[in-house]
């Protein structure tokens, strides 16, 4: 699971991107079902995202990182990232605000990852 640099950074970023897409999907579903009978909104909280990745980030032991990231990915695939929202009904303004926040987060990841890849390219290619 280690990428070409020997670190799990690429895997962490990919998992974060997937989580962001999932979060957008959940927001979209909440908004689409605002008026659906008996519908209870769900969420993919940033706290949950932090929990999922906490172990990978705090372990300095490289040999463990590969298995820890695999564990985080398994957690994501199991659907455990989606939790019921504290609200009984869809709060439209909250959902729309969340969409905007998530979008910024997604953009930050893409931009940051682009810079990271550019650094790798420079280091490997010697600026040629």
């Amino acid at each position: 699971m280690l990428d070409s640099t020997g670190s799990v950074t690429s895997d962490i970023v990919k998992l974060a991107l997937d989580t962001s897409v999932l979060r957008q999907t959940v927001y979209a579903s909440n908004i689409a079902n605002t008026s659906s009978a008996g519908f209870k909104p769900s969420e993919v909280s940033f706290e949950r995202q932090m929990e999922m990745l906490a172990k990978v980030l705090t372990t300095s032991d490289d040999s463990q990182q590969a298995s820890l990231i695999a564990g985080a990915r398994a957690l994501f695939t199991s659907g455990a990232m989606i939790t019921p929202s504290a609200d009984e009904h869809v709060q439209l303004d909250k959902e729309v605000a969340g969409v905007a926040e998530n979008y910024v987060h997604y953009q930050a990841l893409i931009t940051g990852y682009g810079k990271y890849l550019a650094q790798l390219r420079t280091a490997i290619g010697g600026g040629q």
Partner: protein, 147 residues
Amino acid sequence: MAINSIFGISASGMSVEMTRVDVATRNIANSHATRGVDGKSYVPLKVVSTAIAAQNFQSQLAAFANGEIPGAAKIQEIVELNVAPRMVHEPGHPDADAQGNVAYPNVDLLTEMLTLTEASRVYEANVQAFNAAKSMAMRTLDIGGHK
């Protein structure tokens, strides 16, 4: 994550709210219709929408089978409201009954206007979610960035 499920959910929401607007508009337009095609006065309608169950947004296999997207909204049914018509005493009216009363549809204009307002709000929110998803997808193509 399939592309059509990202956009399809918001599209379904827009579609449901459009239907809601259509029905509310029809109710308002027919609030004085005392004689319909079947000879009876108009009965106001209501849209009942429901969510397509999403066990786990990642597993799209089952629901996709019949073209339904997990997490999307759909119209369950459009029902006639169970309200009695408003009886107004108008002896000269062509549709007056033996007592001179005319059965007007019991369309509550306030409710219909509120439905219209709420449906537009939700429609707008769906559009914003759709735009965010589109921008995210376009931005994905930028991974690797500028040199």
